[in-house]
């Protein structure tokens, strides 16, 4: 009996050691990058001295103007695209929930899945061609590119809003909406005052998820943007030259990492309470 117990403890220790080693490897590059954001050496091999210079340069240096205009584009795209996705996606989720025709329902569900399962590069390529054809028809140039990128982002973010709103709808009581109608609400009031508040946690998580996906996107943005830059496309443009990536970018990476960490923690919170509800 003791022998068996000892064996069990050994297996447990071994397996957790394994998990921790892999976790360590997974984080090594990120930790490495954060560490080296605090030194002024140009390359990664040699440690200069401990300094916040990279962070100072980020806000007041050679690259500041470029970085902040890219940041501005990134935020405009993400805010508009995630707002559009949230509105479209919430309405669609409510609509899809009450579609009874099996064929129509399947058509919606299958099409909605395409952006989630498709390879990013295929989506990117198809979006680029769509705007190419639009530009040919309407004789417009690249002046509308931000708008185009926003549409492309809305297209791949909306399914994730639906993904978050639909389970809430399935759990919510259909009677609340009907009761609101019976109590004299018109349809608009019933939706905005009875249904939407019920769905709000899902809608918020969907919005944050869409926002995160949008600021994180590189492939689709790179294909649909021409003259401007977002943070991702700027990083790609800066690394592709012969010269090493400017050191203030390490500071930028560190800041982005912690912002994403914050967003993820936020997303996980309501999601968890949602899951618990589902389990009951």
């Amino acid at each position: 009996m003791d022998k068996q117990k000892a064996l069990k403890t050994t297996t447990k220790t071994l397996s957790w050691t394994y998990v921790l080693i892999i976790l360590g490897l997974l984080y090594l590059p990120i930790i490495w990058m954060i560490l080296w954001s605090f030194t002024n050496s140009a390359t990664f091999g040699t440690w200069g001295e401990f300094t916040f210079k990279n962070y100072q340069d980020l806000f007041n240096g050679k690259q500041t103007k470029v970085i902040f205009s890219a940041l501005q584009n990134t935020l405009i795209i993400a805010l508009v695209a995630s707002t559009l996705s949230t509105i479209l996606g919430t309405a669609a989720a409510i609509g899809i929930h009450s579609i009874r025709n099996k064929r129509v329902l399947n058509a919606y569900k299958t099409t909605n899945q395409i952006p989630m399962v498709n390879s990013e590069i295929v989506t990117a390529m198809s979006m680029m061609l769509l705007f190419q054809v639009f530009r040919g028809i309407f004789k417009t140039g690249s002046q509308l590119e931000l708008f185009e990128v926003i549409l492309a982002h809305t297209s791949f973010c909306t399914p994730y809003v639906i993904l978050n709103v639909s389970p809430r709808l399935a759990q919510s009581d259909n009677k609340i909406y009907e009761a609101a109608l019976d109590l004299g609400c018109n349809y608009r009031q019933a939706i905005f005052k009875a249904l939407i508040p019920e769905l709000l946690p899902g809608i918020i998580v969907g919005f944050v998820m869409a926002f995160t996906l949008s600021i994180d996107d590189f492939v689709i943005t790179e294909f649909t943007i021409n003259n401007r830059d977002t943070i991702s496309t700027l990083i790609y443009a800066k690394q592709s030259g012969k010269r090493a990536l400017p050191s203030e970018f390490r500071a930028l990476f560190t800041i982005i990492f912690f912002i994403i960490l914050g967003l993820l923690m936020f997303m996980n919170k309501p999601q968890k309470s949602l899951d618990n509800k589902g389990k009951k």
Binding site: V19, G45, A92, G95, E120, V133, T158, V219, I235
Partner: protein, 278 residues
């Protein structure tokens, strides 16, 4: 008077007609415009002749596909498949035990550890890749096939762990107990219960690693200093030369993804293995 009664009638008619399902119409139109139409255009480009300004012609041809499978490209395709298979297998071998350990654990704060595995998925892959490159450079390891494969594994491991974890989490404990009561040892339980039941997760993980790893552009390019080109980078560079050839190869990828999704859906009817993002 007559006017207002007509408008009353009209609004009454409208209200009576309103059903929540109409709320799906705007997105329906949007999907046709920005999901289906782009793929139709991609399809047309793939099968038509190239025009110097990149506009769409309607002269149908299969020359683009011949170009995709030209001898110089065959090398690149073979290389992509090799890297894809190695990375997927490595992710499965490394990731399966992790998914198993995490899902079987009774630890109080295991959610935190699960989240730690998911977090890298949300950090921009360019940043992750550049960080990995920095580590390789600091350790003075030559950039090439090994560094590319390593980075693929590093980038896509969480995508293998999550669907498998989700599926094993949902296996009923009774099945394990039943198997043990019937005399199975731990290894037999693993072989006869856990692995077969986690098959949908494994399949889903494979589709989430294999295609993305060979089609995502920039990783191979960055990790090999542009000496090791895979499908994704090829599409990217080809998109500056010929939309048509780039469309042809994208279309092939689309078909492969379609087939693999059909297979996954067949084995995973409840969608347990999906939604591995969170």
């Amino acid at each position: 008077m007559g006017n207002s009664s007509i408008s009353n009638l009209r609004s009454a008619f409208k209200l009576k007609q309103f059903s929540r399902k109409y709320l799906s119409i705007p997105y329906g139109v949007f999907m046709v415009m920005f999901i289906i139409l782009p793929l139709v255009i991609l399809f047309l480009y793939a099968f038509t002749e190239r025009k110097f300004d990149g506009s769409l012609t309607l002269n149908f041809t299969i020359a683009n596909f011949k170009e995709v499978f030209s001898p110089t490209n065959l090398d690149m395709l073979e290389r992509s498949f090799k890297i894809g298979i190695i990375s997927t297998l490595a992710c499965l071998i490394i990731g399966y035990p992790i998914a198993l350990i995490l899902s079987r654990s009774t630890l109080k704060h295991k959610n935190v550890i699960v989240m730690l595995f998911m977090l890298p998925m949300w950090v921009n892959f360019l940043i992750r890749t550049l960080a990995t490159k920095a580590v390789f450079e600091a350790m003075d390891i030559k950039l090439g096939e090994f560094s590319v494969t390593f980075t693929m594994i590093y980038n896509y491991l969480p995508y293998m762990i999550m669907p498998i974890y989700n599926v094993i989490e949902k296996i009923d404990n009774c099945l394990y107990e039943g198997a043990r009561d019937l005399g199975a040892n731990e290894f037999t339980v693993l072989r006869k219960v856990t692995v077969p039941l986690s098959l949908p997760g494994i399949l889903s993980g494979i589709t989430m690693v294999f295609m993305p790893s060979i089609t995502t552009f920039a990783i191979a390019n960055i990790m090999s200093n542009n000496t090791y080109i895979l499908v994704g980078d090829y599409i990217y560079s080809e998109s500056f030369i010929s939309f048509n050839v780039a469309s042809a190869i994208s279309l092939i990828i689309l078909v492969v993804i379609g087939i693999s999704m059909a297979i996954v859906n067949k084995y995973d009817k409840d969608g347990n293995a999906q939604g591995g993002m969170m």
